[in-house]
C-alpha cells in the first residue's frame, strides 16, 4: 500500500490528477508537448486538458485534424528529434487506427536504432458515457503483448498523477490508459513537490489473507468496496492493483496469490484473451500447489458495448459481481 500517512493529501478527481501532472511536467521540461484532437482551445472533450493551451501556447499544446496515424507519428518523429511528446488519442478505440505507428514504429524504434523514444500516448478507455460500441472498448491486453512498449493503466487519482509524471520522464514509449468511468471519481493525492509513482510496480490497495483480487480500472474501487462488504462477514480480501500491465509486476501478484491461495481477477474488458487470462495463467504456472480453488474471472460478457448508459452499466461488472466471484472462489 502506498503509505501516504505522513504527507498532506488533497482529494482530487482523476482528471485533475492528469491535468496537474501535465502542467507540472510541461513547466519542468520545455521539451514536453501535448498534441491531440481538441486538446487545445476546447481543453479536451472531457475537459481534462483545460487551461494548458493558455499556459503553454499553441505550439506546445496543439490541436490536430482527425488524423490518428499522423498523430502518433508526430510523437514518434518528434521524440526522435528531441521532443518528449504526449499524444492524446481521444478514445482508446481510435488507437486501432494508429496501431501500426504504435506497434511497428514506436515500439520498435529502440530495437533498431538503440535510441531513446520518450513518447507518451494517453487515451481513454471503457464504458462510462453514452458512447456505444465503437467508443468504449478495453483492449489493453493487445498492447501489453508488444515488446518495446510499456502499458500503464492506473485507477486512482494519486497513481494516475504519479504514473503520468513517470511516463513523461520515461525514455521508452508508454501507452497510458485512462479510464473514462473514473474521471470524476475523487481520491486523496499527496501534495508533495515531486509525486512520482514508478512504472512496473503493483500496489496492494488493501491487505487481506483469504483471497487475492487483482483488479484494474474501475474494478479497483469496486473490488475495494466488495472487500469492505465481505470483511463484515469475516472474509479477508487483498486487493492488488497492478497499475502497469507491461512490464507486469509478477512478483507482487504471485506473492499475494501464494499468501492467500485464492484468486479473483476483475476487469472491465471481456474475459477471453484478456488481462485476466494472463493473471490466471501466471497463477497456475507459478502457484499451482498453493491454489485452494479455481480462480474466477470477473469481466464483461463477450458482447459489444451498448449505447444507453444503463445497458452499458449492466454489462460492466459491478460490486455485486465481484462479491459473487469472491464467494464462489471461497466456497
Amino acid at each position: 500500500m502506498t503509505t501516504t500517512t505522513d504527507v498532506p493529501t488533497r482529494a482530487l478527481k482523476v482528471w485533475q490528477g492528469i491535468n496537474q501532472a501535465l502542467v507540472e511536467e510541461m513547466e519542468r521540461d520545455e521539451r514536453v508537448v501535448l498534441v491531440g484532437e481538441d486538446v487545445g482551445r476546447p481543453g479536451g472533450p472531457y475537459g481534462v486538458t483545460r487551461g494548458l493551451r493558455d499556459k503553454f501556447g499553441d505550439l506546445r499544446v496543439r490541436d490536430t485534424p482527425i488524423s490518428e496515424q499522423v498523430l502518433v507519428g508526430l510523437g514518434v518523429g518528434g521524440a526522435a528529434v528531441g521532443l518528449r511528446p504526449v499524444i492524446e488519442i481521444m478514445f482508446f478505440d481510435f488507437a486501432m487506427i494508429a496501431m501500426d505507428q504504435i506497434v511497428n514504429q514506436a515500439a520498435k524504434f529502440r530495437y533498431f536504432s538503440g535510441h531513446d523514444l520518450p513518447l507518451v500516448i494517453r487515451t481513454m478507455a471503457g464504458a462510462g458515457g453514452p458512447n456505444g460500441a465503437q467508443h468504449s472498448q478495453n483492449f489493453e491486453a493487445w498492447y501489453s503483448a508488444v515488446p518495446g512498449l510499456k502499458v500503464v493503466m492506473p485507477s486512482q487519482a494519486a497513481d494516475t498523477k504519479g504514473l503520468l509524471k513517470s511516463a513523461i520522464r520515461d525514455d521508452d514509449p508508454v501507452l497510458f490508459i485512462e479510464t473514462l468511468g473514473l474521471y470524476t471519481t475523487r481520491h486523496d493525492v499527496p501534495q508533495v513537490d515531486e509525486y512520482l509513482v514508478p512504472i512496473g510496480v503493483a500496489d496492494i490497495k488493501r491487505e487481506g489473507s483469504d483471497l487475492t483480487v487483482v483488479a484494474t480500472g474501475r474494478l479497483v474501487d469496486r473490488s475495494l468496496e466488495a472487500a469492505a462488504q465481505l470483511a463484515e462477514e469475516g472474509i479477508s480480501v487483498e486487493v492488488v492493483d497492478p497499475r502497469t500491465l507491461q512490464p507486469l509486476d509478477t512478483e507482487a501478484i504471485t506473492a499475494s496469490i501464494r499468501k492467500t491461495g485464492r484468486l479473483v481477477v476483475a476487469q472491465e474488458a471481456t474475459a477471453q484473451y484478456s488481462f485476466a487470462s494472463e493473471i490466471c495463467a501466471l497463477a497456475v504456472e507459478e502457484c499451482l500447489s498453493e491454489l485452494k480453488a479455481p480462480p474466477v474471472r470477473v469481466a464483461s460478457p463477450f458482447v459489444n458495448v451498448p449505447t444507453p448508459v444503463p445497458l452499458a452499466e449492466s454489462r460492466a461488472p459491478g460490486v455485486d459481481d465481484v462479491v459473487a466471484a469472491i464467494r464462489k472462489a471461497m466456497a
Partner: protein, 311 residues
C-alpha cells in the same frame, strides 16, 4: 423526391424529427448521444434525390437526415434513439449505429472516416455484380483529415467506381473550426486523381440535387466517381448538450437566416406548404407515440446478433 414539395417534405420531416428528439433529450429520454444536423437538411435530401432503394447511402455520426432521406422509418428511428426495443437496432445502438441494408442505408458510424472504405466496397460490389446501382457517401469536412478518405478516392478513381463522395462541410469539426483541420480547398481534392470536383451551396436543396444528381447519373453510366462539397452550417453544438459557447453568435444567426427550409418552402404555394407541415406533425406525433409505446430495451438486449448461428 424529384419535386420541390417532395424535397421540402423530407427536409421538414428531418427538422421536426430532430427538434422532437432534442426535446426528448432535454427531458432525459435519449440515453445516447444526439448529433443534430439541423440546418444541414438540404445536403441529405438533395444528395438522395436521385437515388433508388437499391442504391447505397453511407452516413456518419451525424446522420438522421441521411437516414430519413434514404427512406428510414421515423418511428423506428425514434424508437432507436429512445432506447426502445422497436428501434432499428433493438434500442442498443442509438443514432451512430443505424444500419438498414434492405433500404440501402448501409449505416451511420461512430468512427470518423470509416464510412469511406465501406462506401468504396459497396460501389465495388455493384460493379462486380454488374448492377447499375450507385453508392453515395456522406462525410464531414473533418473526415478529410483521415487517410481513409484518400485511399477511397484513389481506388474509386482508378476503378471508375459508381460512387459519389458528398462532403458535408458544416465548417465545424467537433469543437474546433474548419481552419484547424483543412488545408486548401476541399472540392479540389479529387482533381489530381482525375476525379471531377464541384462545390455547391449546401443550403440550396435543388443545387445539391442537381450536382449530386449529375454525379449519380455519371456514376450509374459507368463513368466513375465525383467529389461534391456542399457548404452548409451546423446550428447546434457537436452533440445535444454541448452549448458550443465558443462560437460567434452573429455567425450562427446569419446562417439561421439562410435556413434551407425557408427557401424551399417559399417556392411552394402557401397552402401546399401548410398541408405538408400538418402531415409531418401527424407523422412525428404518431412516430413518437410508437416509440414511446415500445418497451425500453433491458439488459438482455445486449446479447443477440453477434453471430449468424446465435442470432
Amino acid at each position: 423526391m424529384g419535386t420541390t414539395a417532395g424535397r421540402y417534405r423530407v427536409m421538414r420531416l428531418s427538422r421536426r424529427f430532430e427538434e422532437t428528439m432534442h426535446d426528448q433529450f432535454g427531458d432525459g429520454q435519449v440515453p445516447g448521444p444526439l448529433h443534430l444536423s439541423i440546418g444541414q437538411e438540404a445536403v441529405a435530401v438533395g444528395g438522395c434525390a436521385g437515388l433508388r432503394t437499391s442504391d447505397a447511402v453511407i452516413s456518419t455520426h451525424r446522420g438522421h437526415h441521411h437516414c430519413l432521406a434514404k427512406g428510414a422509418r421515423p418511428d423506428r428511428m425514434m424508437a432507436e434513439l429512445l432506447g426502445r426495443t422497436a428501434g432499428y437496432s433493438g434500442g442498443r445502438g442509438g443514432s451512430m449505429h443505424i444500419s438498414i441494408p434492405d433500404i440501402g442505408l448501409i449505416g451511420t458510424n461512430g468512427i470518423v472516416g470509416a464510412g469511406l472504405p465501406i462506401a468504396t466496397g459497396c460501389a465495388y460490389g455493384f460493379q462486380a455484380q454488374a448492377r447499375d446501382d450507385v453508392a453515395v457517401c456522406f462525410f464531414g469536412e473533418g473526415a478529410t483529415g483521415t487517410g481513409a478518405f484518400y485511399e477511397a478516392i484513389n481506388i474509386a478513381a482508378l476503378w471508375k467506381l459508381p460512387l459519389v463522395f458528398v462532403c458535408e462541410n458544416n465548417q465545424i469539426v467537433e469543437l474546433t473550426p474548419q481552419e484547424v483541420h483543412v488545408a486548401g480547398e476541399l472540392w479540389r481534392r479529387g482533381e489530381s486523381h482525375g476525379m471531377p470536383g464541384v462545390r455547391v451551396d449546401g443550403n440550396d436543396v435543388d443545387a445539391v440535387a442537381d450536382a449530386v444528381g449529375a454525379a449519380v447519373v455519371r456514376a450509374r453510366a459507368g463513368d466513375g466517381p465525383t467529389l461534391v462539397e456542399a457548404v452548409t452550417y451546423r446550428w447546434f453544438g457537436h452533440y445535444a448538450g454541448d452549448r458550443a459557447a465558443w462560437r460567434v453568435e452573429e455567425e450562427v444567426q446569419q446562417w439561421r437566416e439562410r435556413d434551407p427550409l425557408i427557401r424551399t418552402r417559399a417556392a411552394l404555394p402557401a397552402e401546399q406548404a401548410d398541408a405538408i407541415d400538418e402531415g409531418i406533425e401527424e407523422l412525428i406525433g404518431s412516430a413518437l407515440a410508437f416509440a414511446q409505446q415500445s418497451p425500453v430495451a433491458g439488459p438482455e438486449a445486449i446479447f443477440p446478433n453477434h453471430y449468424a448461428s446465435a442470432s
